[in-house]
């Protein structure tokens, strides 16, 4: 039982290292003719897998950062105590039980790594760390894996004296090392530990290499090494099982050398009862931060101003030589550089710099212990001024994010229980730390998505493979992670899985962009990205990916036109006059839900809102983008408009999100009703029409249900009855306004309404929703009248779907009283 205390000191929990990726030689292209991906990006992509590794005897990898000129920064969990410090540089002889217990833990960790396809290759006593409770934590195990077995770097991996002899040959020819190379290294480390001496402490580099190579000629390698260490008698006094164990590690005949998994079950570990050794228990006070997940603490530390680069700089690991001194002197046309000086600071220096957490602790100092463990239902009681700040600021506020992380951590753990609460909180904002998971919840992704995804064949060649392969290297490639080859592979797999599991649909260009945000957010969980994509397409892009999707897309675009006419008649008139229809610019918007138009960080904020809205929400987003460009559009002709959209100027996304939700609130649902959207049922009077019909209308239709609903809502509206007065008197909607127009009149360009009390009432109600009603057979008249009203720049004009006749069943028609 440990006690938690907010005043307890927090020791540094993270360590940071830096290294350089190899540079490509001058003129090299990939197989697809595109320039080669920089090695640093390849490393970054591969390294992501390491973040998923979780084993009690491995340190956690927290972050991989790519910097200019191929620099990579690694952030991982770190502990000060290592095998090296514990044994006082091997001067200390440790009890056999302790050594065995540690060795067993290391083997456990190695087995886990091997089963995940990772080989350590950098085992040294310095990289076997111990936490406060003396648990073994293996460090630096990812270096060999993420550099693709050393392919993407120029420096050698491993410490020479612990390196197995075959590695010296194989590494040179870039063969991948197998798990048994780690057995060798571990064997040497254990031997050193047992004999309490260092192997070849004073030998020079070349001598060590020669020594290792010469080992191939001797029969009993362990004996020879013990002799070289001057501890032969000590070695001989070791128990036989132990000698056998060492012999199975350090063995020239590789068939007799065991791999870590087999060594783990060696009889030596059952022969000795090491489990009884007292572990170093920690009873002191612990800061509640240490109860939090490490990646959360790291995230908050960064928000609190933690700067990895600065920490490195302070230790002199980030010094940059003046570039002018490194410049080449000659650049041959073929691209080869001559006379450039090697940057000394790009040499490998794997010093570990600890990151002090003081900044974060100070920032959170005033929090009470209960803030770390609140009751979820009480969280919203606090009135925080931060909530009113702009989103970008909230996302950078340490304390605010701290509370959000604590809250969402619990809500997500409870999912799908507490979904309502999750929705309320997500409406406020979605913490970036949990975005991937929250999105999955919002899209209702649950169940065993992993095995569903597993069972889909993503390897067999398909017809669209070529197109996918062409598109992926052009999809959000400014993003480091997405431009890595690992990401390309993942994108391709997810896309193919979706295509295979949806035989009805085909690959349309743009699906890749749609997929990218999900793959980015769930980088190591392909199945979640797949499930999210599936749910997303179903909800927002139902049937858009049909082979013949003309009808669906058409309808979508017409709905956008209607929406423009509904909210911004002036703009609608202008665009109509110039003949600039949404088909010319909005197809990629909706086909990719704007993911082709905006960079990732903007898509995130946009989709945060989009996912909370219904399937017509994208239309409002489109409208709000147009509103932002409004003044430019109003002053542009057709050509300028085309140019404007061919390379869209910066759009303020936060404003866009705010406005779109305003538009959403001010629009009755049936205005954006689409025939092809996914819905559970279509009611009788829903405006479910073919796009050919819609095409001829300038203003949208409203359904009777919405009309009825409007009556009880706070939205202002006015019904315009255009039938002749006698019909109006006989039966009409209460509160409606009778302006009789004839179809013939509307043909006239210069037609205008004659001044009358009804007209002034109409003028007074400018801004309310205007619903034009007539007999159902007077369709053309209603259309023209709507168009006329829009021309007069009346906003929110719509017509009643089904005409006055539809209302018969609703019992709301009454005889009108004329004044």
């Amino acid at each position: 039982m440990t006690c938690n205390c907010v005043d307890a000191p927090v020791p540094p929990l993270f360590g940071v290292q830096t290294l350089f990726a190899a540079q490509h030689t001058s003129e090299s292209c990939g197989a697809n003719g595109l320039p080669l991906t920089p090695n640093s990006i390849t490393i970054l992509g591969r390294a992501q897998k390491l973040r998923t590794l979780n084993h009690p005897n491995l340190v956690l990898h927290l972050d991989f950062i790519r910097k200019q000129h191929g620099r990579i920064i690694l952030v991982s969990q770190y502990f000060k105590r290592s095998l090296w410090t514990e044994t006082n540089n091997y001067l200390l002889l440790l009890p056999l039980e302790k050594v065995l217990s540690w060795t067993h833990r290391v083997l456990d960790a190695l087995t886990y790594l091997n089963s995940n396809g990772v080989v350590h290759r950098f085992l040294t006593p310095q990289y076997i760390l111990f936490d406060d409770e003396d648990n073994v934590k293996l460090f630096n195990y990812g270096l060999y894996y993420m550099t693709n077995s050393g392919k993407n770097i120029t420096f050698p991996i491993g410490k020479l004296k612990y390196t197995a002899p075959e590695v010296l040959v194989l590494d040179r020819d870039s063969y991948k090392s197998g798990p048994k190379t780690d057995s060798w290294s571990l064997g040497i480390i254990v031997l050193e530990l047992l004999l309490g001496a260092q192997l070849w402490p004073t030998l020079k580099l070349s001598q060590i290499i020669r020594k290792i190579l010469s080992l191939t000629h001797c029969t009993d390698v362990v004996m020879r090494l013990a002799r070289e260490m001057g501890r032969l008698t000590m070695y001989q006094s070791l128990p036989d099982e132990l000698k056998d164990f060492l012999g199975k590690c350090i063995c020239m005949d590789v068939k007799k050398r065991l791999c870590p998994k087999e060594l783990f079950h060696h009889k030596i570990f059952s022969a000795y009862e090491y489990s009884k050794i007292l572990m170093n228990k920690c009873y002191s006070c612990k800061h509640p931060l240490r109860q939090m997940k490490l990646d959360q603490v790291y995230y908050l530390w960064k928000l609190a101003g933690g700067d990895v680069e600065w920490a490195l700089k302070k230790k002199g690991l980030l010094r940059n030589e003046s570039p002018i001194l490194l410049l080449p002197r000659l650049i041959i046309l073929e691209g080869t550089l001559y006379g450039n000086t090697r940057n000394q600071s790009s040499l490998l220096d794997l010093q570990i710099v600890e990151l002090p957490l003081d900044l974060l602790v100070n920032r959170l100092q005033h929090l009470k212990i209960t803030d770390y463990d609140p009751l979820i239902d009480q969280v919203n009681k606090q009135n925080d001024t931060t909530e009113k700040l702009p989103l970008v600021i909230r996302e950078k506020d340490t304390e605010y994010q701290f509370r959000r992380i604590i809250l969402f951590d619990r809500l997500l753990a409870a999912f799908p229980f507490k979904l309502d609460k999750l929705l309320i909180e997500a409406k406020k904002d979605i913490p970036p730390f949990f975005r991937g998971e929250v999105w999955a919840c919002l899209l209702n992704v649950c169940g065993d998505t992993e095995s569903i995804y597993m069972s889909i064949d993503k390897e067999t060649a398909g017809v669209t493979d070529r197109q996918i392969e062409v598109d992926i290297p052009r999809c959000h490639q400014y993003n480091d992670l997405l431009s890595s080859s690992v990401a390309h592979k993942k994108l391709k797999r997810v896309l193919k899985a979706w295509l295979v599991s949806h035989p009805k649909y085909v690959y349309w260009q743009g699906l890749d962009s749609l997929c990218a945000p999900f793959v980015y957010l769930n980088f190591c969980k392909e199945h979640v990205s797949y499930a999210c994509l599936t749910a997303f397409v179903k909800k927002y892009l139902n049937d858009v990916f049909l082979k013949d999707n003309a009808a669906v897309i058409r309808e979508y675009l017409i709905k956008l036109s209607h929406l423009i006419a509904f909210h911004d008649p002036q703009l609608a008139n202008h665009l109509d006059e110039k003949g600039f229809i949404p088909d010319l610019f909005a197809i990629p918007w909706f086909l990719t839900m704007f993911s082709h138009v905006f960079p990732l960080h903007k898509i995130f904020h946009l989709w945060d809102k989009l996912l909370l809205g219904d399937s017509s929400y994208p239309l409002f987003v489109g409208l709000s983008i147009l509103t932002q460009l409004r003044s430019t559009l109003l002053n542009s002709g057709f050509n300028e408009c085309i140019l404007l959209f061919s390379d869209l100027p910066e759009v303020d996304i936060e404003k866009c999100v705010l406005e779109s939700s305003k538009f959403n609130d001010a629009t009755p649902r049936s205005i954006t009703f689409r025939k092809y959207e996914l819905r559970t049922e279509t009611r009788e009077y829903d405006p479910c029409l073919m796009y050919e019909v819609l095409q001829n209308e300038f203003s949208p239709r409203i359904s009777i249900y919405d009309l009825v609903e409007l009556k009880s809502s706070s939205l202002k509206f006015l019904v315009l009855d255009t039938r002749p007065q006698e019909f109006y008197i006989e039966k009409s909607i209460p509160g409606s306004l009778n302006i009789h127009v004839r179809e013939e009149d509307l043909v006239d360009e210069n037609f205008d309404l004659a001044p009358c009390p009804e007209l002034s009432a109409l003028v007074n109600n400018r801004g309310s929703i205007l619903i034009v009603v007539d007999n159902v057979f007077e369709l053309n008249k209603v259309r023209s009248f709507c168009r006329f009203l829009v021309k007069k720049e009346y906003p929110k004009v719509c017509s009643l779907h089904g005409g006055i006749e539809a209302l018969e069943n609703f019992n709301i028609l009454v005889p009108a009283i004329m004044y």
């Binding site: 540079q23 003129e27 292209c29 320039p35 990006i41 200019q68 000129h69 396809g117 392919k151 120029t154 420096f155 050698p156 020479l160 075959e166 040959v169 194989l170 040179r172 870039s174 063969y175 090392s177 197998g178 048994k180 580099l205 070349s206 290499i209 190579l213 191939t216 590789v254 068939k255 030589e321 003046s322 570039p323 002018i324 001194l325 002197r329 000659l330 650049i331 041959i332 046309l333 080869t336 550089l337 001559y338 006379g339 000394q344 490998l348 220096d349 597993m454 069972s455 889909i456 064949d457 067999t460 400014y478 960079p599 430019t632 390379d647 910066e650 002034s760 003028v763 007074n764 400018r766």
Partner: protein, 569 residues
């Protein structure tokens, strides 16, 4: 590391799975080839096998555990085989032990900090950091500029005296020669004249040599003095923190008159644009198009209405010398033997030699080193054969044969004594550039690409490119020619800029396009309007708050009006 040919070597092993049901008397044997080392998901492969062979789903668990075992076993076998081969290699010495030793020793010594021989910064780097610190510490910058100015004056002085003496000598020599010529066959013979000419030549050489050596000595003294002063000043500065004025111990003593910095624009005409590149993620860059004399961008002092004034950008250049913001200029050279004897090259040479180079080798020495680099390059080119994907085979073959620099090759010289740049890219050109129809595969354009790529890897953030790929206006350069050339260069540079964004180096913040002096305003106008059509100019930031206010006011007015209407009704 070495080659990558064997790197991704995979071994294909056949996985066999026997499957029997009650209905079938015999059992099926399924064979699937599997790549070893296996990368991927065993589970997924099992599913594929089941789907592919139409097996019942219930075998999945058995199948995947079988498959897992098989893969584990085969991987171990593959690694074992590799290891055995490797160890045999060492044992039987089929691989030279010394090779391995050398390889590893080299790898550790050249790539890791703990084994490298030359730890710590080089002398140049030490001086660089010292100078950088000094230049960025308030009053010292002033001192640096004063000293540089004083030293440059001293050099100018000697050069003036030299040219004066050479001039007067030439004058006397001409007179003597004329006199001798006049009296040919009268009081002098041909031999006399020859002897005289020889003597004159010797005198000339002597006097040139005398002055040159004097100049060299002066420059050497200046350089040593300057560098010592910098190091000393930095040391002292660290001693006394805060207020430190290095002017006191300046090696030139007190420089009386300060300098006048030119406030006249260096450019006859200029126009600047802020542009965006990229479709989703946009990066911002500056583009400037200007008409100016190329060399005036480099001269430390300019003559303005008869008085000597200083280049306005010099201050910035000094501050940024060792920073991560370098400035470069492209100069086109039509000779390919690294000689600076005529034309623009000669003028450039004179500018460089007009003051002492305190930081780098003198231009002459830099060129000598480049010559030796060229020898290596030529050797490589000869043996390695074609390497570029962009060059035609004929051109490549021609290039491989040549021992000289060719069109499109670039050499770089570094300078601390030029006004607005730190380094100059000298690109070799030939006559083909004069023609109107060069395309994006022309060596000069490819050379341009190499330059921009290099700029990205070495923190060169501003580059000046002659827009027409030439420094002077000639008769052939008609308006359509100019337009066409400008379009080509702008478009290619745009492409290279987009490409360089993905390289992960420094960003090209500013690109300046230089148009020769003397271009007509009209043509310049055409070129300036071309930039926004090729690059996407960023839209200016518009403050909307006032606008909405006005709108709401109008609305209010309307509302009141409406109200009045309704009340009147």
């Amino acid at each position: 590391m070495n080659g990558t040919k064997d790197y991704d070597k995979k071994y294909q092993e056949t996985f066999r799975y026997t499957f029997a049901t009650l209905k079938i008397p015999e059992s099926y044997i399924i064979e699937v080839p599997v790549d070893i080392p296996f990368e991927g998901s065993v589970n997924e492969l099992s599913h594929r096998i089941i789907n592919g062979f139409n097996l019942p789903l219930y075998v999945i668990e058995e199948l995947s555990s079988e498959l897992q075992k098989f893969i584990d076993k085969s991987s171990i076998e593959v690694y074992n085989r590799q290891t055995v081969e490797a160890i045999d290699c060492i044992k039987n010495e089929t691989i030279e032990v010394e090779d391995i030793v050398k390889y590893w020793e080299k790898a550790f010594k050249e790539e890791t900090f703990s084994f490298t021989d030359n730890k710590g910064p080089s002398n140049d780097q030490l001086f660089a950091s010292a100078f950088h610190k000094l230049a960025h510490s308030g009053p010292s910058l002033d001192a640096i500029l004063h000293i540089e100015y004083g030293y440059a004056q001293a050099v100018q002085d000697i050069m003036c005296r030299k040219s004066r003496q050479v001039k007067s000598l030439t004058k006397t020599q001409t007179e003597e020669m004329n006199y001798a010529m006049d009296g040919l066959n009268n009081y002098s013979t041909e031999e006399d004249i020859n002897a005289l000419a020889l003597k004159h030549f010797d005198d000339q050489t002597l006097i040139q040599g005398k002055w040159n050596s004097r100049l060299d000595t002066l420059k050497q003294e200046q350089r040593t003095g300057y560098r010592e002063w910098v190091m000393k000043s930095v040391e002292e500065m660290q001693g006394v923190d805060g207020l430190y004025s290095p002017i006191g111990n300046s090696p030139v003593g007190v420089v009386a008159n300060g300098f006048t910095i030119s406030n006249m624009s260096l450019y006859d005409m200029e126009e600047s644009f802020t542009i965006h590149l990229g479709s989703q993620m946009k990066s911002t860059h500056n583009i400037r198009i200007m008409s100016a004399d190329t060399l005036n961008l480099l001269r430390l002092t300019l003559h303005e209405n008869g008085t000597v004034v200083h280049h306005p950008q010099r201050l910035q250049t000094v501050l940024e010398l060792y920073s991560q913001d370098l400035k470069g200029l492209i100069l086109f050279i039509d000779t390919n033997n690294l000689d600076f004897y005529s034309g623009l090259a000669k003028e450039f040479f004179d500018i460089c030699e007009g003051s002492t180079e305190f930081h780098f080798n003198s231009l002459q020495d830099q060129l000598e080193i480049i010559k030796s680099d060229l020898k290596v390059a030529v050797e490589n080119r000869k043996y390695k054969g074609p390497v570029s994907n962009f060059l035609s085979p004929e051109l490549q073959a021609r290039r491989n044969k040549s021992k000289l620099l060719q069109c499109g090759d670039v050499y770089i010289t570094k300078h601390s004594n030029l006004a607005s740049v730190h380094l100059v890219f000298h690109m070799v050109i030939d006559d083909s550039l004069k023609s109107g129809d060069i395309n994006s595969r022309h060596p000069v354009i490819l050379g341009l690409r190499n330059i921009l790529k290099t700029a990205c890897s070495y923190d060169i953030t501003m580059i000046t490119i002659p827009l027409f790929l030439t420094h002077e206006m000639t008769e052939d350069m008609t308006v359509p020619w100019c337009q066409k050339r400008a379009e080509l260069v702008l478009k290619c540079v745009k492409g290279f800029m987009i490409e360089s964004v993905s390289l992960g180096g420094s960003e090209l913040k500013t690109i300046q396009f230089l148009v020769p002096k003397g271009i007509s305003e009209e043509v310049f106008g055409i070129l300036a309007t071309m930039v926004p059509t090729i690059f996407r100019v960023s839209t200016p930031l518009v403050f909307k708050s006032s606008e909405t206010e006005i709108n709401s006011q109008i609305k209010n007015k309307k509302n009141t009006k409406n109200k009045r209407n309704s009340s009147s009704k």
